[in-house]
């Protein structure tokens, strides 16, 4: 996470130097289609989201009904990913679990988007003591590894989907705040912002009309990346037994069952992990592609 964070800092710098407005380049549908990584990632993400939506209403088998005669069955045409200890179809449980996992990730991104943007804009716009204190707080919070901090919050709230969401908001907010502050600082002294000040516009009006639109592309990239973390972290916390509790299916709760029955039913952890990996890869690809679009000179890809 740290690494991505610093890469995005340089993204902010590069964008600020390259564009006269100091803001990032807009993300358009055409640009996404033209970028191979963004397109591949976007399609993968779309498939995962589609499966989650279908899984919320229909699955090949009921994800909760026991079928003792067919327990621990290996993958077959009847059960694509095999069955678990109670004979439940794992593929159906993965489909049904996608909803909770993606909702947790969405909630985590939405919450940290709001709090992080607020903190970042306040820190970036009001120079002086407010900024100094907030910057220190943000840096310190980022010194605590995200998963460790999230586990701390879940300890207090108890294991559930809502506590995982809250815990993740408490982790990602600081990442958002940091990058938003950097973006705001990059644009805050530009001539058009000065002009708005000259026109006697209030600080909040300037933030809403001039600052936010210019940092929006960076925010979108950051949100996409955070969405990938959200999926991964929900799964990780679930794997530790601190997330959504079985029998309710989520990718995290399936992973803890996978760990328990790793030797009897290896297909369970393999399938559940693969689904998480594919979803995270898709969203990461999309995020990387979007980063290229926002800053065409970004490293690694077009060397």
């Amino acid at each position: 996470m740290n690494l991505i964070m610093r890469r995005q800092d340089s993204l902010v710098d590069a964008v600020a130097k390259a564009r006269p407005s100091g803001g990032a380049k807009a993300i358009t549908l055409r640009a996404i289609v033209a970028n191979r990584r963004a397109l591949t990632g976007g399609l993968l993400t779309a498939i995962v989201v589609a499966i989650a939506i279908v899984g919320a209403f229909w699955t090949p088998y009921d994800p909760l009904t026991f079928d003792a005669e067919h327990n621990f069955a290996g993958p077959s045409w009847d059960h694509l990913a095999g069955t678990d200890i109670y004979g439940r179809d794992i593929f159906s449980r993965l489909m049904a679990g996608a909803k909770v996992s993606l909702l947790v990730a969405t909630g985590a991104v939405a919450g940290s988007f709001i709090f992080g943007t607020a903190l970042g804009v306040i820190s970036g716009m009001f120079k002086g003591a407010v900024d100094a204190v907030l910057t220190r707080v943000i840096d310190l919070m980022l010194a605590i590894p995200g998963l460790v901090l999230a586990v701390g919050v879940v300890t207090l709230l108890g294991p559930s989907a809502v506590s995982v969401t809250i815990a993740l908001i408490g982790v990602y907010t600081w990442q958002f705040a940091r990058i938003i502050r950097a973006s705001v600082v990059a644009v805050r002294d530009r001539p058009y912002v000065e002009a708005a000040r000259g026109l006697n516009m209030g600080t909040w009006a300037i933030i809403v009309r001039d600052i936010l639109p210019n940092v929006m592309p960076v925010l979108i990239v950051q949100s996409t990346t955070a969405f990938a973390w959200g999926i991964l972290d929900e799964a990780s916390i679930g794997f530790l037994g601190l997330g959504v509790q079985p029998p309710a299916p989520s990718w995290g709760s399936l992973l803890i069952e996978g760990r328990q029955y790793m030797y009897q039913a290896p297909w369970l952890p393999i399938a559940a992990g693969a689904v998480v990996a594919i979803a995270v890869l898709g969203v990461n690809l999309l995020g990387d592609g979007l980063r290229d679009i926002v800053d065409p000179r970004s490293d690694g890809v077009k060397s």
């Binding site: 740290n2 590894p145 709230l157 037994g241 952890p269 890869l281």
Partner: protein, 313 residues
């Protein structure tokens, strides 16, 4: 150099102090009654009140903080919420296992990532170079628990080459101890090595354009000499920076890998504390992890400054 070191250490004091304040109030800002949560459905108001009193949790918040903070100065990490036992000896017990795993996996990250990145940077456009970027993304997207599970299923269950976990102290049986560390260390570090490789690559590519390298080849030095004397030496620097940067990910991944491989380290202790909802233990453990992170980054900075004369002291 000495002045720089002293300055950095002086800055550390308010930093660590702020960290304790921030963490304490962050944990206490989380809503709900942790004692009721811990005791579960059996709890009665009397029981909760008694436990609160016994653990000193009925004191005003600032006084609770002060007790915790004053204890830290004496190396006392406070007490466990569950049984009131002091936390410090429990944590110290767990440190060797975690340290061994971290060092082994750092070694693997560098041993795999550095040569790959260096070769990719030296031979831009070669096949190593071309697969690096996709592999790095793949590594970032592969969950540690999945990789660990696959490694166990393949190398422990199917092939039987390595045990599926379990820690033996290095002092007891060094070879068996390392054999048991290999699989978890690999699971923890392998997905970070392509990332390291990518950054080493970027550094190497930049180095090739440096005037002193061009000048060296102008002087007629053999390519091998240039590689050894100018490229390789300077490409080592980013490794240091990256070790500091990736440490956070490593410490987080540790929690998962220790759980998967039944590794009796600090990460597993954190999860045990979280499952039992012992927030006093968890709070102190988070502080320990954060302090390690801050200290290692300081060490990396100092080392970097002493190795690279361009860094202003």
């Amino acid at each position: 150099m000495l002045g720089y070191l002293v300055r950095r250490i002086l800055v550390l004091i308010p930093l660590l102090f702020s960290l304790t304040v921030l963490l304490f109030f962050y944990i206490h800002a989380v809503p709900g009654d942790p004692i009721a949560g811990m005791l579960g459905p059996d709890s009665t108001p009397e029981l909760i009140a008694r436990l609160r009193h016994e653990r000193g949790l009925d004191l005003p918040l600032w006084e609770q903080y002060w007790r915790w903070f004053a204890g830290l100065f004496r190396g006392d990490l406070g007490i466990s919420l569950i049984n009131g036992a002091p936390v410090t000896p429990i944590v110290i017990n767990r440190i060797p296992a975690t340290l061994q795993l971290t060092l082994c996996s750092l070694f693997l990250i560098v041993a795999i990532g550095f040569p790959l990145g260096f070769l990719a940077g030296k031979h831009q456009g070669s096949w190593i170079d071309r697969i690096l970027s996709p592999t790095a993304l793949l590594g970032l997207s592969t969950p540690a628990f999945w990789l660990g599970t696959l490694l166990i299923l393949i190398f422990a269950v199917r092939l039987g080459w390595f045990p599926a976990g379990g820690y033996i102290p290095f002092s007891e049986d060094p070879i068996e101890s390392l054999r048991r560390t290999l699989l978890p260390a690999f699971a923890l570090g392998i997905n970070l090595s392509p990332l390291l490789a990518r950054l080493v690559r970027a550094a190497t590519v930049e180095l090739k354009r440096e005037p002193f390298v061009i000048q060296a080849s102008g002087r007629g030095l053999k390519p091998n000499t240039i590689t050894r004397r100018y490229l390789l030496r300077n490409a080592v620097l980013p490794v240091l920076v990256i070790v500091g940067m990736q440490l956070g990910g490593l410490l987080g991944g540790q929690v998962i890998i220790e759980q998967l491989f039944s590794w009796p380290g600090v990460g597993r202790l954190l999860v045990e504390g979280a499952v039992q909802r012992d927030y006093l233990l968890v709070q102190s453990l988070i502080l320990v992890v954060a302090v390690i992170y801050v200290l290692v980054n300081l060490a990396v900075d100092v080392l970097h400054a002493s190795l690279d004369p361009r860094v202003k002291l």
